[in-house]
Subunit: 327 residues, 2 copies
């Protein structure tokens, strides 16, 4: 059992990504030294906080799916926060190597670096995708058997297993967080971003994957990161699994209608049909968050509220032009 | 859903190994054509049935952890039976690459070959190691969260996830069998073989890892293979998990005492102490076999009976020399 050191430097993989960068920003504000590892495939330099001193924030470009990271990045660190992964679940079906490399092998590389550098605390961002289409909703952390439907989910499950094995074999304290759909207005992927992009291209028509009945929980990035920080501060078993989501869920139809309303309500919504949005999609997802709640965490907004807040942010960032005349 | 074709050729990875070779032998007897893939690290040519025609049994030497297998081996096959893996759980702690390569990556390679060659049925030999030290005994297939303690268990869990994802993404029918300790007198690893080897070296003293209280279920190889054949013949969902074990369990102390008794009863048993035999060892393992029983399968002997039968086989193969004078 290794407790958090308030002043310990952290390695954050995917630290320039949508979720990792929120953690990095928050920890820099608290005065913590951060080593970011990112391949900048979806991570963006402009997501990293500007104005940090080079002493407090170091950024190393590194493709963890191809090569082991430099060990010096890990030396002296007290925690590894591992966010780096392929972010596009759909692409895995076309390229089965993608998640194996950027998910499974990347995790093997960072765990091995942590072991060699004696980093004893590991926080891993897993996914509700490990459950596949669960027969129990809301799904608790104890649900089994785990039956991922996508290669993305398979790589998350593979990573969970390695985290657990490293914890038991080499004496680490580890935290596995299974995320619902994490959203905010800075993201450049996910359903809300995709729908906004489609309306930008054609304001008269919104093509939506599936029949609109798919229903999932959405959680704001800031709530997700707050939950990870809280749980990893308060618990100290070798291996711990936590769901991070909302109590309610939002259907694709509701989301599409909200996005259209936010754009003036004129676009026609056209569903592609079928229960699934794409091969590997899980039509119904809702995680039990009772375990996180028992630690004192709760999402600051419902799933519906998370969507509303994110739509507001996307609108603020991308001024709407309902006439579709361009800018 | 793809049902078994009685005459379809099978690819069997690890087909020269302890369990795969028993399947191969049985299927050759039924007239099936078998393509064996093995790296012969622990597989042995003498375990493959002699006298099979080259048309019915083809053997390709291939290290699946290093390279993709030749696609022509998979062409025309109707099923993939994937047994190949590192067989030495303990070595994984010293060499974390071992199970990643020979477990996880090997599975990725064979699944991808099966997909490309349109092999739609996959049978995978997983392990009770995916559970880690379960808090529920006997442990059902629905137990979670899965918390492997060894890198071997992590690689089995990673492979399970990939099998499930391939099933859902590419339309395969798959079977995941989680094995208890599978034993017979031909094996060249495992507790019985190890204890026999120790007594052969020093008939006066038997060093045993742990304090002797570790207790697990043992199942005969022929019962294991029979169970796999039955379940994969009778069920046809995309992904199915089955435990294969016995209803009872046997402690290390009982096994050591039986082995000593079989050698004349004179050797002194010396326990190394500690709850675990080694790092990554799971001290207590007993699987619920209710799901397999519901299909009509049952082990032909208890765990105790499996040990007795195996000791008898080992004695028949290695004539005892209680005086320790060597031969």
């Amino acid at each position: 059992m290794t407790e958090r050191r308030p002043d310990g430097p952290w390695v954050v993989t995917g630290g320039a990504g949508a979720i990792g960068s929120v953690l990095v920003e928050r920890q820099l504000r608290e005065g913590r030294t951060i080593e970011v590892l990112d391949n900048f495939s979806t991570g963006r330099t402009d997501q990293l906080p500007a104005g940090s001193s080079a002493r407090q924030l170091r950024v190393t470009t590194c493709d963890l799916g191809r090569a082991a990271p430099p060990l010096e990045v890990f030396r002296g660190a007290t925690e590894l926060w591992h966010f780096a992964a392929n972010a596009d679940v759909r692409r895995g079906a076309e390229d089965p190597q993608l998640d194996l490399a950027n998910g499974t092998i990347a995790t093997a590389h960072v765990l091995e670096a942590a072991r060699r550098a004696d980093v004893r605390r590991v926080v891993f961002s897993s996914s509700s995708a490990v459950y596949g289409q669960a027969s129990v909703l809301p799904t608790p952390e104890t649900y089994g058997p785990l039956e991922p439907q996508s290669l993305y989910g398979a790589a998350k499950l593979a990573s969970e297993g390695m985290v657990a094995a490293y914890a038991h074999t080499y004496g680490m304290t580890t935290y596995i967080f299974r995320f619902a759909n994490i959203i905010d207005g800075r993201m450049r992927h996910g359903i809300l971003y995709d729908l906004f992009e489609k309306l930008r291209r054609d304001p008269s028509r919104l093509d939506v994957l599936g029949d609109g009945t798919q229903a999932k929980s959405y959680l704001r990035t800031e709530d997700c990161v707050a939950g990870m920080l809280l749980a990893s501060d308060r618990t100290h078993d070798p291996v711990q699994h936590f769901n991070l989501g909302a109590d309610d869920q939002s259907s694709v139809r509701e989301i599409a209608e909200k996005v259209v309303a936010a754009h003036g309500g004129t676009a026609k919504i056209v569903y592609s049909g079928g229960q699934r949005g794409w091969v590997g999609d899980v039509p119904r997802q809702r995680l039990s968050i009772a375990k996180m709640r028992s630690l004192g965490w709760a999402p600051s907004v419902t799933s519906h509220g998370a969507i509303d807040r994110t739509i507001a942010e996307l609108l603020a960032r991308a001024p709407v032009d309902p006439a579709g005349t361009g800018r």
